[in-house]
C-alpha cells in the first residue's frame, strides 16, 4: 500500500514540476510534508540542504531520501521510478511529435503562461524555507524572542554575495554552515 502511495505521490511531483530544479520544491513539499507527513518541515529543509551539495536533481534526491525513510530501499526505487515516469512518457510523446512535424509551436504558448506561475511557486517554497530557517519553533507565540537572528544575518549576507559576485551556491552553503558552527564555539 505504502509503495502505491509513494509511486502516486512522486508521479504527481514529476508530472507538475515544470522548469525542473527548484520548480519541484513546492510539489515535493506539498506531497511529502503537507499531505502525507512523511517528513517534518525541518527534515524537508535538511534534505533540500543536503541535495544542494550532492550531484543530481532535487526531485530524484528527495525521492530516494523519502522512499528509504518511509519504506526502505524498495521504497526509494518505487519513488524514483514514479518521479521519472511522467518525464519518460511526455518526452517520448514530444519527441515523436517533433520528428514527425519538426516543430512544437504550441509548447511556446504553454511555457509562456507557465513560467510566471513556476516562479511564483518557487517563491512560495522559498518563504516556507525562510520560515523554517528564521523561526524554527513556529508553535511559539513570542515571535520576536524566537527569531533566529544568526540565520537572518547569514541569509542576508549570502544573498548579497550571490547577487554581487555570482558565487557558486555550493561554496555559499558550505561557508554558511562553517560560520554557523564557528559562531557557536566563540
Amino acid at each position: 500500500m505504502i509503495y502505491i502511495q509513494l509511486l502516486l505521490s512522486f508521479i504527481q511531483i514529476g508530472l507538475f514540476s515544470f522548469g525542473g530544479g527548484y520548480a519541484s520544491l513546492p510539489f515535493i513539499q506539498n506531497q511529502v510534508v503537507t499531505k502525507h507527513h512523511w517528513l517534518t518541515m525541518k527534515e524537508f529543509a535538511d534534505i533540500i540542504t543536503i541535495s544542494q551539495t550532492t550531484p543530481g536533481p532535487i526531485a530524484i534526491n528527495a525521492a530516494t531520501f523519502v522512499g528509504i525513510n518511509v519504506a526502505g530501499i524498495k521504497g526509494a526505487i518505487v519513488a524514483t521510478i514514479g518521479c521519472v515516469l511522467p518525464s519518460i512518457i511526455i518526452i517520448l510523446f514530444l519527441s515523436i511529435l517533433y520528428y514527425k512535424y519538426r516543430g512544437l509551436s504550441f509548447m511556446d504558448g504553454i511555457l509562456y503562461g507557465l513560467r510566471p506561475t513556476v516562479i511564483a511557486l518557487i517563491a512560495i517554497s522559498g518563504f516556507s524555507l525562510l520560515q523554517a530557517s528564521v523561526l524554527p519553533n513556529s508553535s511559539n507565540t513570542h515571535i520576536l524572542q524566537n527569531l533566529d537572528y544568526v540565520s537572518i544575518v547569514l541569509i542576508v549576507g549570502a544573498l548579497y554575495i550571490l547577487r554581487k559576485y555570482k558565487t557558486n551556491p555550493i561554496y555559499i552553503m558550505l561557508g554558511a554552515g562553517i560560520i554557523r558552527l564557528g559562531l557557536y564555539f566563540i
Binding site: V84, T117, G175
Partner: protein, 185 residues
C-alpha cells in the same frame, strides 16, 4: 555508429559520469551532455541537440533527466532511454541512499545540526537568488501580462490554497491564448 555492446556501454558511462560530477542541477548538466555527445562522440548534430534540449526544457520534471531521455531516445529508441535514465539516476540514488542512512544516525548530533542550520540559511538565499534572476527579465522587458500571472498565482496558491496543478493548468491555457493573440497582431 555501430550499435554494439560498446555503443551502449559508452552511452551508460557517459551519462553516469556526467551525472555523478554535476552539482547544481539541470542548467549545468545540459551543456556537459552537449559537449559529450556533439563535440566528443559526434553522435548528434549541434542543431538537433538544441532541439532535443528544447524538448527537455518544455516537459515537466528535472531537466537533467529529461535531457537524458530525449538523447537516449534519439540514439537508440526505448532501450536507449532505459540506459541513459539509469546512468543519470544511479549516481544521486546511490549517494543519497548512503547519506540518508548516515543522516538518521547523526540527526541529533549538535555539530551536524549547526552546520545544517547554517547551510539551510544558505539554501534560502540561493532560492531567492534564483527567483530574483527569473523575475528580472519580466521587469526589464515590462512584460505586464507575465507579472500579473505571477501575482495571481501567488495569491491563488498562498492565500486561497488552490491546488497547484489547477493553477498550472489555467496559466498554461492563458499562455496559449496570449501567444496566439500576439502572433496575430
Amino acid at each position: 555508429m555501430k550499435k554494439n555492446y560498446n555503443f551502449y556501454l559508452t552511452m551508460f558511462l557517459s551519462t553516469f559520469f556526467i551525472s555523478a560530477f554535476t552539482f547544481g542541477g539541470g542548467y549545468v548538466i545540459v551543456p556537459l551532455m552537449k559537449r559529450k555527445f556533439v563535440d566528443d562522440l559526434h553522435w548528434i548534430e549541434e542543431e538537433e541537440m538544441l532541439n532535443l534540449i528544447a524538448i527537455a526544457q518544455a516537459a515537466p520534471g528535472a531537466v537533467a533527466i529529461n535531457g537524458a531521455i530525449s538523447i537516449g531516445y534519439r540514439l537508440a529508441g526505448l532501450l536507449g532511454v532505459m540506459i541513459t535514465i539509469c546512468g543519470t539516476v544511479l549516481p544521486p540514488f546511490i549517494i543519497i541512499s548512503i547519506l540518508s542512512v548516515a543522516y538518521q544516525s547523526v540527526k541529533g548530533n549538535l555539530i551536524i545540526q549547526l552546520i545544517l542550520q547554517g547551510m539551510q540559511a544558505g539554501v534560502v538565499a540561493v532560492v531567492f537568488d534564483v527567483v530574483i534572476t527569473m523575475i528580472t527579465p519580466f521587469i526589464k522587458d515590462k512584460r505586464v501580462d507575465s507579472i500579473i500571472i505571477l501575482m495571481i498565482s501567488i495569491i491563488l496558491t498562498a492565500v486561497f490554497h488552490i491546488n497547484i496543478g489547477i493553477v498550472l493548468l489555467i496559466s498554461g491555457i492563458i499562455g496559449i491564448v496570449l501567444v496566439k493573440r500576439k502572433s496575430k497582431i
